[in-house]
Symmetry: C3
């Protein structure tokens, strides 16, 4: 007889979960974050209402591998005003209006000179671009292309009330101790100002996942890092080199709130456990998904997967960086976030965690021939035990592959059954003393 | 020039062979077999007219790995009668009417109680189901759904004249000694009562294959086992553990007489020699076929391929268990058997045996450059030697791959030529002293 | 953002190069070559105007592996004349008219006997076939089928003014010393009389490639061998056995001038470096191409890839042997050669050479995290450095894979970027002291 494999336990994608994540994103949205500065501190303080955070402050000038922690940047105001004082562009309206790391300025600037310091998106004339100049000192403002076209006076007053001075780079960790000290690294960047999908979405999903894990008593130790992009991961790596050997699996999280399907970018290794685990979860999940090989462009996986570290770290996204039109512009605002997408991203991460923590290798105690399941009450007839989370085929697969060489994930992949069903069948066989773990 | 590979020797699928196998199936059909009892003994006695059989009788209660040989069951009569004595269901009409291993009974049973002991197939109301209760003591009868609907009296007399008592489990082996003691295991179950495709078809094909091999002086030793399903293979395995290391290849044979194409289910290993050999034969055989990976459900391959044994045993079938509507019902009767299917199954097995026995590894005696075939009378021009069973391309392939690393099957696979053509070319090269076997 | 990989440097397929190769082929076309004799000597003398050649003369009777160098054959005249002296078939018209290695003859032959010594192509009645009888002594002539049909006299005078006598087999080598003594073997057969694509095309392309390499100061040492087919490569192999270990890559060149696309036949190993290199070049080359696995039929790769040598030698062709209608007939004449095909074949070979010589393995000097490219002037923004022969993605790929395990070709394959782009990015990184070669 041919068996339709059961589809595993439904992971609920509760609409409430999505709504509460959206509310948190709304609270974080107006803050002007950058790779350093008070915006990051304010953000972490809000997150610490939900999960315990260890905040690190790393002084400017500290070496971070081949890089150096830059000066700290803070901005209080920035505007372009007509000479009569009317503000035509104002940071108060949208913090994307200021070029990140812009040096301070307060002077009358002729329009011709001003134009060289203005950034727009001609192809999306209603959106303000998100631009940075972290490592090359200059001043600048960003505006919509329509706004640029409306600048017709000969001169404008330009004010950028910013400070670029020795200070600190701020990041935070949330560590959830598990039964074992082998670690799972979850990393998301917190350096973007008022952009929603990139990356408030991942920040709120990571926060809720951490909250869930604190109650779940996981097997692995989970380490969440909330860091500014590039310089943050470089700094974190340089300060944690000796601990990296503990990392069994890792994910960079970004762009998890839009309406697109899940995209998983594999680790540099391409065949890490995390790559196989995510592929399995996505394969048994309804709906589309896409898995793409590693490329050395994207988010902080670039640093985690640099050749000297080569950590088993992939990147989980919905619409990837650069592949949605609103990317890195004011179009990436709260209207892009869907509560059901946030909830689904969280649910997928919970299933990934379920596999990470449940993937154990067993050896059958009765490996020669099939054990007689009938006298142990385990022969319910095929299909008869689905209420227990598995069916008879899952039992037979686990028994057949429990040779100490196949992990439960290997069994799920070979059988085509969902991991949860294999895990439940293994639990029943452990109870019947038919399996023992391989240590 | 591009060569159309020759298609190998035709293996005749003589209609006479099919007709004589069908006659043997007809003789065996009426016998009421079970996992123990006189039906099995009677069956083996008939087979021993064709091939020498070593019959084993294993006492009830004998341990067989995690199982125990059950009591022996025999049934002489079984019927449901109206109170006036008219029999409405009678084992005499069809031995499927009795639930296998039914306990004895002779009493008046109210219809309501009786219904709980009756088995039908509502979706096929004219067929009697085949049901067993080997390891859970109960009584029962099987009937067509139309027969069930015709039971309208308030009470019926139910008689099951069976015995369930200490006795023996019976199985047989037919061993054909070859040049070497490395073994090929061929296993088929003999426990089904009047069912034709499952498994009289395989019993008669195995018998004729054994008869053929006795005359063929094979290289390997061939061991045919005729056993009851599950408990039979468990019993055989438990009594032969020390010999299992001799098995190089194995096949479970079942359902070999219906009109479907060949289905091969791979061994648990998935890349055993037998898996490659069967795939090669089927690829060079006209007509459809299907190869499916191992699953831990089916016939006795479940036991041979349990993790503690993991023998290189696949399963050769036409329509597989559960995939034809008549499976495990009175619909699986002699009308399902086609002589040409039986003959084709036998022919395919003969080609498999040909590869098993002919797959040798050679080393070229002139490995540097091509030897000059012209002065050895082997350069007949391309295509010129087909009458000898091979063409010039087969010669060139064998010479090119005879590095002591490629077996003849490897060569057949790499060249796309049929094994028989490669084998014939190798024979010619051995005769010309251009090849020597690797020992 | 998704990057469209840049398409690498254009290798010019200058029409002049094609025209000058065609002129050389025109000069070589009328010469009557065979596996031995003055035609080969005359051919090599012409080639030596372009490249330095070391000519070898191997006496008849010399052992060459399983073969023996045959007697030398030369032919001065051959014709069929009516008894009145009118020549109806004349070697002067086309040197294909004489069967190669035909023994001498001068006598009146009855038409019936004569027919047994005449070779035609009935399916192409206007073409003269190319036929040989090197190792079986006989006489014969080749003619068009229309010419055969016009022979109606009862007797003809047949004159073959040939000599078959002890002499020499002639071949030549052109060795271009590189920085290292590891070798690249390029082999083409020079034994065909007036046939153009097979193989004057490859002879002229090889000559021009050798000329190019003499000026290019290559890293590897390049060894071109111009040899008669089969017996020539066997002779060369038997005289150079001890040097064969120096060969890292090899190609047999043939049929490189017709209008077909490139066909590459892999080495026997199937995964040699040369197989990967050619596949990469063809993949990044515009236009169709085809890659086929090794078969032990074709050109001298049969000898180089015999199991006792198993050299990493593939075969580069346009229309392969036997796959164009004019093959081995007078239809394979100068009209088949296209200057643009000759030039394209040369260009592809130059790109192959570029990969062979440029495929080095590096280790990053800053393997932990990405080095800061900005302060080294290497962060031109994505796509911004294409004028330097590479883009930012090529830089990132090289840095990411420079772990001492990936060669530049590995990087090109994994990234999907052309080798030339990866090579240029690596050069920039070497200049910036970010990479060091693995020795």
């Amino acid at each position: 007889m041919n068996w339709v494999p059961d589809q595993g336990r439904e992971v609920s994608t509760k609409p409430e979960a999505g709504a509460s994540m959206l509310r948190l994103a709304e609270e974080l949205f107006p803050i002007c974050r950058s790779i350093t500065g008070n915006g990051v501190r304010q953000t972490l303080q809000i997150l610490s209402r939900f999960i315990p955070l260890q905040v690190a402050e790393v002084p400017s000038g500290t070496a971070a591998l081949d890089w150096t922690v830059p000066r700290e940047w803070n901005v209080r105001a920035a505007y372009i005003a007509k000479l009569d004082g009317t503000r035509v562009i104002d940071f108060e309206q949208n913090n994307l209006h200021v070029l990140q790391y812009s040096t301070p300025l307060d002077r009358i600037v002729p329009l011709d000179e001003l134009r060289n310091h203005l950034h727009t998106l001609p192809e999306h004339p209603d959106w303000i671009p998100y631009r940075t100049s972290y490592y090359s000192e200059t001043w600048g403002l960003c505006l919509t292309h329509h706004q640029l076209e409306a600048l017709t006076d000969e001169e404008y007053r330009v004010v950028i009330d910013s400070t670029l001075a020795d200070g600190h780079l701020t990041y935070a960790e949330c560590i959830i101790k598990g039964e074992i000290d082998r670690e799972v690294l979850l990393s998301c960047h917190i350096c973007h100002p008022s952009l929603a999908n990139d990356n408030l979405s991942a920040i709120v999903v990571a926060t809720m996942l951490a909250q869930h894990l604190r109650n779940a008593k996981p097997r692995h130790t989970y380490r969440f890092v909330f860091i500014p992009g590039t310089i943050g991961s470089l700094t974190w790596l340089s300060r944690n080199e000796r601990k990296l050997g503990l990392i069994d699996h890792g994910l960079v999280l970004s762009c998890l709130g839009d309406s697109g399907h899940i995209n998983y970018k594999q680790s540099r290794r391409g065949n890490s456990s995390i790559d196989r685990i995510v592929a399995h979860v996505l394969r048994t999940e309804p709906g589309d998904h896409r898995i793409t090989p590693f490329v050395p462009y994207g988010y902080d996986e670039r640093q985690y997967c640099s050749p000297g570290f080569n950590l088993p770290v992939g990147c989980l996204m919905r619409s990837p960086n650069g592949e949605y039109p609103e990317y890195h512009s004011s179009g990436d605002n709260l209207s892009l976030l869907r509560p059901e997408s946030l909830a689904h991203s969280l649910a997928v991460l919970k299933r990934i965690v379920e596999v990470i923590d449940g993937d154990v290798t067993y050896r059958s105690c009765n490996a020669k021939g099939e054990p007689q399941l009938g006298r142990r009450g385990l022969w319910g007839g095929l299909g008869g035990l689905r209420s227990a989370g598995y069916d008879q085929m899952a039992l037979l697969w686990v028994l057949n592959l429990a040779d100490g060489q196949h992990s439960l994930l290997d069994m799920a992949e070979r059988s085509g059954l969902p991991f949860s069903s294999i895990r439940a069948a293994a639990d029943a066989l452990v109870n019947a003393e038919l399996l023992e773990p391989v240590v």
